[in-house]
Amino acid sequence: MSLKLLLVDDEPNILLSLEFLMKKAGYQVFIARDGMEAIDILNQSVPNIIILDIMMPQVDGYEVCQHIKKSPELQNVKIIFLTAKSKKEDIEKGLAMGADLYVTKPFSTRELLKQVRNLSV
């Protein structure tokens, strides 16, 4: 059974590339175009990994992260922040919130795939 992957980003083209990549790698891909959509999806099904943008309208990535950490049924979800926020304090903040991985944009597709695979083992 393939692993479930939730991709959250408000940039359609980034979402498009991630979807292509992950599907190609054999993951079952869910897509959310902002934090609200992500939480809706999370309420219905539990992904193994979530690739989460931070700066999004209305509900941002941090809130989604907090939602996951609060929800008992989502405790096993691995969180990867994929964001343009690349300052040291941003990275520290993201990891402190319980993210398993912090990847800054622009990212290397091969590197991201490798890290997603590592997380899914």
């Binding site: 980034i14 590339s17 292509f20 309208p57 941002d60 343009a84 944009k105 622009p106 990212f107 597709t109």
Partner: protein
Amino acid sequence: MSYWSLILLSAGYLGLLAGIAYAVDSKKRKRPISPYIYALSLAVYCTSWTYYGSVGKAAVDGISFVAIYVGPIITMPLWWIIVRKIIRISNALRLNSLADFISARFGKSIRLSVLVTLLSVVSIVPYIAIQIKAVTNALSQLLDNQSAIEKPSLIITFIIGLFVLIIAFRTVNSNEKHSGLVTIIALDSIVKLVAFLSVGLFVTYGMFDGYSDIFRQVDLKKIDQFNSIDGTEWFTMILLSMSAIIFLPRQFHMAVTENQNVAHLKKAIWLFPVYLVLINLFVIPIALGGELILGESVDPDNYVLALPQSVGNGFITLFTYVGGFSAATSMIMVSTIALSIMVSNNIVMPLIIKNTALVKINTQKTLFAQRFSVILILTMSYLYFAFVANSFSLSSIGLISFVAGIQFAPVFLGSLYWRGLTKSSAVFAMVSGFLVWFYTLVIPNIIEVGLLPESWLAQGPYGIAFLNPEQLFGLHFESNIVHATYWSMLFNILGMVVGIYVSKPSASERNMANYFVEAYNYSTIEGNSNRWTGQMVLFDITRVLENILGKPRVKLEKRLFKSQYDAPLEMDGFVNPEFIGHAENLLNSAVGAASARMIISSIAQEDNIAVDDVLVVVKEKQQFAKLNAELHEKSKQLLSKTAELEKANERLKNLDKEKDDFISTVTHEMRTPLTSIRAMTEIIYDNQDLEEEERNDFLNIVIHESERMTRLINQVLDLEKLQSRKTEIYFVPLKLHALIWQSIHAVEALTKVKNIRISCRFDTEEITVLTDQDRMQQVLINLLSNAIKFSNEGGEIVLRTSRKERAVIVSVADQGKGILKENQERVFEKFFQANDQTLKKPVGTGLGLAITKEIVEMHGGNIWIKSEVERGTTILFSLPIEDEKLVK
């Protein structure tokens, strides 16, 4: 005439003069005296000695009396050189006596001024005494009552003293020119000249039948005697009178101290000699006539008065008396004033100052000093007259004074023309000259009066023949005046030479020597008593000024002076005299005139200690107030500076934060398209087996995101250029509606996608505005594409123009979602959309409205927003219409 009526007449005459002097001095508009008055006032030279004594001397010694007038007549042209220089120096340094002048030349030496004062008193008091004697003689001649001599002399002395006090010393300021005094002295000169000419005419043409008649009557032997001239004596007399005309205190006072304009000298140079010739016209006829008619029965000194009296002409007799009285009183008055200025300034005042606290010195003390000096001198003169002078003829005592006067001449001339002269040599010269004068002229007189043994004159003191006062070192002269002049001048000059070898001039002496010798090179304006002169060092005066006025002010004043006077501050290493005057005026306003004078003169002394003393006093006085004010000012400045700094700091911080935010936002915004581009290209590269359609889609995304990035970079740069006003805008008159239509046409493609209708509602006819075509189009397209962006599918955009006063307002309204009230103002901020989390992220850079706002503001217009949630947003902007003509 009765005794009392004569006293009353004398007092009345003096009263009249005092009245005239008072009237002149109290004139509201003071006018400078005329040069004629100045020239006539110099005739104070002609005393009762001239008036009575010339005749007396002529009767005894013949024509030689003329020598006393030849000297002045031949030296007068030289006045333009010598006296002019003296006046110039005196005015510049505010010197008002002989003593001041000599002491100033040698560094304002107090000792020297006391010495000159004492010597002047010693030599002039007897001279004043003989004037009292002359008046008394005249009175006794008129009254024919020998016993009454002393009483009237005392009364006359008293009256004269009173008038001196009234006329000259009513006010304190001894620097003031006494116009009243000069006027009445000139009047005296006229009175005595007219009186003497009257009596001369009366004797020559009334009592005799003219000149030739008198000479016919005199026997030939007498005429031979008259014409015999002793060459040595003649020469000596000329020499003595040449110096007397300027170095006698009264002459110095009239010629220099009372001079109001150096140009007056020009008149005096010819008028005064004429006066001297006129007053001597009838000396010989009167002398010969007196001898013919009166002979030995009357003192020859009294011939002038006795002749008209002898024929019973009461009017001429009385007029002659008045003339003689005026000659005597004018001399007494001026001499007393000149001497008392010296005594008061150099002896009495210093004593008072020494014994009084500085704060207690006031006008009354100064007045007291001056009045006391007047009384002292007149008392001494009277005592001399009462106990000594009776034994001598008028001219003999007069000549003794002349010999004393010439003792000042070498030092004085040396002061003016010889830099090398030192203070010691001046002292040596004057002291030795006066000692010899005293020994050879005064001692014999004392012997004659009987205070010393007569054997001194026969065998010499204690039998030492070569110390004989009248035949010093065994040298014998016909006249003891010649004898005294010869020896005193010899010792005088010897003393000077010795002094030069044993002493060196001090620095201040050297400076003063330069100034005295080169007086003409120092100041360009003559006769201005407000002028200080060049013996000051710029450092000293600057230091004092800075202490009182503060450095910046002094710096400013120096600069102002340079530009106003077009003159350097320093000349020949000394401060420009005009700047010193300027400096004194500055100080006047700061510490008052008296202190200013004190301070300036203290610096003028070039005495470093004095400068320091002045500074201490001034500092103490000013420091407190100044420090206080400074502190106050400084703390105020500090406070405002702190506030300014805080503000600036705040501004900088804000700017810094803004910049930081902007940069981080820009980089963040750039990361997004870059992310897509990188991801897509890597996918294409790694998946060579992509469907062609899919690959093209991905490549399109890369192109699209690249465009987005380019747009972003361009807009950032554009905004930067607009904000820093680096961009150039070309305003040209353009038709606004046409421009709007063009812009609508440019966004047509966008409208078609969303099926949006744009309608225009123009409230006015076509309006011409001054604008930059590209920029205005940028604004319009920006607003339209924004409106399209936020419009719902199939919505309508309304574009309006309307006139409001001198502006046109353009509005673009959409029917979109609208913007929350709290966010409305922020839409013009950079990247506002990007920061705004409440709206669904729209496409665009977030810089469009910021740029639009900049452009509108560069046109002089405003931009604002009206929006209601769910009803739509309207962006409005105004453009000013500059020229009504362009509206057409």
